[in-house]
């Protein structure tokens, strides 16, 4: 597939790759929310982790790992860039269509942006659950 320069750039130089600890560590940490979406047999799994400042409610750091095609890697890389410095509500406002537009994703790859939006929502929901914050009614889970 011939990709545009922004996808290639994120693919070749992915931003914020990593985790804030092992799966067990993360489960125990209240300041970190995790979104793990997709499935290996579908060819895409995204793991997005956000570290939130409990005082300000601002996403201070975000990290990702991704098993998937170039578009999936680029979409999750871009999501981490956009999440940093945002409040939880601002994070929830990120829409897959913005990712499509920013990366010029081809039509057959739109599901990658949907998966990235799902990962954002799942990570924020996980943080809220861990901290007893009621889920935003407008952010319906998938």
């Amino acid at each position: 597939m011939a990709y545009g320069p922004k996808i290639i750039d994120h693919y070749e130089h992915p931003r914020n790759v990593g985790t804030f600890g092992t799966q067990a560590d993360i489960k125990a940490r209240k300041d970190v929310g995790v979104g793990l979406v997709g499935a290996p047999e579908c060819g895409d799994v995204m793991q997005l982790q956000i570290k939130v400042n409990p005082g300000t409610g601002v996403i201070e750091d975000a990290k990702f790992k991704c098993f998937g095609c170039g578009s999936a890697i680029a979409s999750s890389s871009l999501a981490t860039e956009w999440l940093k410095g945002k409040s939880l509500d601002e994070g929830l406002a990120i829409k897959n269509t913005q990712i499509v537009e920013e990366l010029s994703l081809p039509p057959v790859k739109i599901h990658c942006s949907v998966l990235a939006e799902d990962a954002i929502r799942a990570a924020i929901a996980d943080y809220k659950t861990k901290n007893g914050i009621p889920a935003d009614t407008t952010a319906a889970a998938h």
């Binding site: 985790t19 995204m46 170039g70």
Partner: protein
Amino acid sequence: MTAGNAHRSIYLDNAATTPCDPRVVEAMLPYFTEKFGNPGSRNHRYGWEAEEGVDTARGQVAALLGADEKEIIFTSGATESNNIAIKGAAYMYEKAPAGSGKSRGHIISSIIEHKAVLDPCKRLQKEGFDVTFLEPPKDGIFTAEMVKAALRPDTILVSLMWANNEIGTINEIPRIGALCHEHDVIFHTDATQWAGKMPVDVERDNIDLLSMSGHKIYGPKGIGALYVRRRKPRVRLQALVDGGGQERGFRPGTLNVTGIVGLGKAAEIAKAEMDRDGTRLLALRRKLEDSVTSRLDHCAINGHREKRLPHITNISFGFVEGESLMMACKDIAVSSGSACTSASLEPSYVLKGLGVGDDLAHSSLRLSLGRFTREADVDYAAEQIVQAVKKLRELSPLYDMHNEGIDLSKVEWGHH
């Protein structure tokens, strides 16, 4: 000159197509400009020259297959050969008329055939024939016993590929052919990946119908051949196209003389250089496989370890996805079983058919070597693949989870 500053990557996709051998191009050239006649023109030199070129080529292809010249039908390629063979035999030997409500006859094929066999079989199924699609064992190899178990009194035709295009596994073709002859069943083999690479003798190997293609054996695209047995038994086929009676009526239409001459030359070279190419490519393939699998954990070669074509290998790499793997290996041109590289967004049906899990089917690469592959190409490719897999595993949440002892098959994954 290549267009612009396009980067030429190392070509390891010879099972998809091969470059024309320069000797083939040279043989073809006069037939575009000087010897351009229609071989159907019987009354002047232009026609005779063209006919001579076609006759020579027919002899060259027949020699490659151990056949008689009269048994070679030129077609546009293996897809057309498969269609003429499978539908042509089914219609000719059908047991009950269409629309009678009875089975028109039974055909045996397999679920890991090329689409050019699967789809004609599926059409026949819709038209009232019964088709059994055999499922392969894990090693991908069909034996005569498997075919025997599926034979019925109303079986007309067995169609099984000689070697698989994705994994290179080799079926027991001579024994399956012998079985078919014992039971008076027509035997067709799609030999697209085999003929010209490995020895064929249609007598020894008990073949009635054989499809082959020019562009897989360093000939031009748009030309292929169908071998149709003429004696013991004489195989009859119902033509699918009507016209001027060329190619014994099986394939009417003015002959593609340049393509035919090219196919003939390619067949001649293949016959002469088969042993040397095969030995060299087997050594290179083994080097490639050893180099990759010794440096990476969790990778598996798909299909039978030994009974494979010398030039094709298909390797699954756990915890990485095929399309991103191909992006990372940007200096080598290969194929992947990944869904993301196919229009259908489905992972390889061949690998799924072997029972390879969807996750591993998504992370497979097919590497196919050819006459013009050098050892340095293989070394470079191995290095690039190893680096790419390592890089992508750094990115892979699945590899982390695996290394933390999490059983991925027990995780509840979301579904789209």
